[in-house]
């Protein structure tokens, strides 16, 4: 997929071994919003290391800061204190180098652009030549199973197809890191299963690092190599579960019936209940 590049000397500040392995390194990240009456602690002392090739799910109840953590990694929010390193750089430098593709909760497609031109949008911004852009768009639309829909407009597609276009768009400029914020949250169960399956294949095929925010325990267990369980008020990490010890990397929908799957799901549920205060 990638042409062999001449070796680039790594930045001086970080040892080379760390770059090869750790792609996101969050250290003691705290984020506080000042609202009118009282400060809101969205993230409290969050530390997390994400390795290259990982599929990390952030799971937790609403308002636990999982989206905020991801937006902080993407430099869409600034932490109040603590430090994040993405690909060996600050999040801002990583963003300007287009180190990550972000898939939002809604497809956020531009209705005045055809499906193909939505996918080429980031490539246009990067200044890629037109012919290459088109080829990239076609390849990635095919990858998400939308070959033949290039000339359609987003509003002529179903919700699931729109979300797949937005995934193709995030993949099109071939970032190392894919950030997905509840991308299938608004879809029905069947479509969701289907897209989960496609996504895990895509991840194996492209060797990307994925960070995935979800509400669904089954989705998290099915997709992830590691699951990060978070709790609200203040948002912090309760548990990090390693799924790779129990489940194979290559997965089919059947594994959801295995005892290992049920076991991990149970652990996630326990973690969530522990962090969740039902008394208010």
């Amino acid at each position: 997929m990638q042409a062999p590049l001449p070796p680039v000397p790594p930045p001086q500040t970080v040892p080379p071994a760390a770059i090869a392995r750790t792609i996101v390194d969050a250290r003691n990240v705290t984020l506080t919003y000042q609202t009118a009456d009282k400060p809101v602690y969205a993230l409290s002392d969050v530390s997390l290391k994400i390795n290259k090739g990982d599929f990390i799910s952030l799971i937790g109840p609403s308002g636990c800061g999982k989206t905020t953590l991801m937006r902080t990694i993407a430099d869409l929010e600034q932490p109040t204190s603590g430090e994040i390193i993405v690909n060996g750089m600050t999040p801002e430098a990583a963003r300007l180098k287009r180190a990550y593709g972000y898939v939002f909760q809604a497809p956020a497609l531009y209705p005045w652009r055809s499906v193909e031109r939505n996918v080429t949008l980031p490539l246009e911004i990067m200044g890629m030549p037109a012919a290459e852009r088109q080829q990239r768009a076609r390849d990635h639309l095919e990858m998400v199973g939308l070959a033949g829909f290039e000339k359609k407009f987003p509003w002529q597609l179903s919700g699931g197809m729109q979300q797949r276009v937005s995934i193709a768009r995030a993949l099109a400029f071939e970032p190392d890191l894919l950030l997905m914020d509840e991308p299938f949250g608004a879809l029905d169960e069947i479509t969701r299963d289907h897209l989960n399956l496609q996504l895990t294949r895509l991840w194996l095929q492209t060797q990307k690092t994925c960070i995935f925010v979800t509400h669904s325990i089954a989705e998290a267990v099915f997709l992830s190599t590691r699951i990060v369980v978070m709790s609200p008020r203040p948002g912090k990490i309760l548990d990090v579960i390693d799924c790779e010890q129990h489940l194979p990397r290559e997965r089919t929908l059947d594994i959801r019936e295995t005892p290992e799957f049920a076991h991990i799901a149970q652990r996630v549920r326990e973690g969530l209940m522990e962090g969740h205060s039902y008394d208010d």
Binding site: Y102, P111, I125
Partner: protein, 369 residues
């Protein structure tokens, strides 16, 4: 189009039967009836025959064509009477016949409303022609003084006879004043809005001024502009700039604010700067608002130019023509000028609406087409 969906016709057009015993009008002070005007009686017979034969038609289209023949012959009758020197104004029979015919036209239009493709324009066209025909028949039938309201035919006749003047007026008012004023006003409104969007203090300072400016009456500002910029097109363009600047500014500002946060975040995640975000996201989002401003301004500009010409102009221009020809009682020229202005305004608006439909076909309000 299936023939089974044709709706039943209400029997109202049959009111034209009431016309049979009534007089058609006065000839030399004496009332005349149908037998004395055989040509008109023939028209009447044709109309009634069309009504009767309606049941034999198989499609809405043929029924519409047949009934239209009935309407057309009814429209012919008052002109036949006038040609024979008959005064139809007191002829109850004539007017009852025409009333029945207009109800018949209603039926024709209802039948044509189902049409698609090129024929769908037939209904609106006939509607417009029907209104003009009504105007013509009433003004001529009742001999309305042309100072009050000339019939459309004499307005139409005035256009070629005064063609030279009308063209000069058109050049002066539209091509010189309106086009330049409109481009400067809309362009400045747009540019300032983009700046104000970048510099919030500018927006906060300008928006209250915008309300103030929209309350300025054009008749108040026009004489001042004539004093500032002289009699020629410059003063008219200045009035237009004042009238069009703020609508464009306000619409552009509103349009630039319509991009959603998630779409802006997306551009940010691509590391797109201000310029690329503006060009690739915010301006396309603003397009419906930009067109709204442009359309409002297209009519404002024409009004502004014509009104401003009342306050001083070289001896040419639509406003000048209207004000001088009214004083000379040449109302057909006045109406011809009004017609040219109306057609110009509609063409500007229509052109913009077409461009809007092409450029914002993605917008929910156009998607279904």
């Amino acid at each position: 189009m299936s023939k089974t969906t044709r709706s039943e016709m209400a029997p109202w057009p049959l009111v034209m039967l009431i016309a049979a015993p009534l007089p058609l009008g006065l000839l030399d002070g004496a009332a005349i009836y149908w037998p004395q005007a055989p040509a008109v009686a023939l028209c009447y017979a044709v109309s009634l025959l069309c009504l009767l034969l309606r049941g034999l038609t198989r499609t809405p289209r043929t029924e519409a064509a047949l009934l239209f023949l009935g309407v057309a012959s009814a429209c012919l009758s008052p002109f036949l009477l006038l040609a024979d020197g008959v005064d139809p104004s007191s002829g109850a029979g004539t007017w009852m016949y025409l009333f029945g015919a207009s109800l018949l036209l209603w039926r024709v239009l209802a039948l044509l409303a189902e049409e698609t493709g090129l024929l769908r324009w037939l209904g609106p066209t006939l509607f417009g022609l029907g209104l003009l025909m009504g105007w013509e028949i009433i003004t001529r039938g009742f001999a309305v003084p042309s100072v009050l309201l000339p019939p459309p035919s004499s307005i139409l006749a005035a256009i070629p006879t005064h063609g030279g003047e009308l063209w000069d007026d058109f050049c002066q008012t539209v091509l010189k004043s309106v086009v330049r004023g409109y481009l400067i006003g809309c362009g400045a409104g747009f540019v300032v809005a983009v700046l104000a969007d970048r510099l919030p203090f500018l927006a906060r300072g300008l928006l209250p001024l915008g309300n103030l400016a929209s309350a300025i009456p054009v008749v108040g500002i026009a004489p001042v502009m004539v004093m500032w910029f002289g009699f020629d097109w410059q003063s008219k363009a200045a009035v237009i700039v004042i009238m069009t600047f703020f609508p464009m500014l306000i619409n552009t500002l509103a349009g630039l604010a319509t991009a959603e946060k998630i779409q802006l975040d997306l551009m940010r995640s691509y590391g797109a700067g201000y310029g690329k975000t503006l060009w690739l996201l915010r301006l396309p989002c603003a397009l419906p608002f930009l067109f709204n401003g442009l359309k409002i301004n297209s009519t404002l500009a024409l009004i502004g130019a014509i009104v401003a010409e009342f306050f001083g102009t070289p001896v040419v221009g639509m406003g000048f023509r209207i004000s001088t020809e009214v004083a000379r009682m040449n109302l057909d020229v006045v109406w011809a000028t009004i017609t040219v202005a109306a057609v110009t305004g509609s063409a500007l608006y229509g052109g913009l609406a077409l461009a809007e439909r092409r450029l914002t076909a993605w917008h929910p309000s156009f998607r279904k087409r």
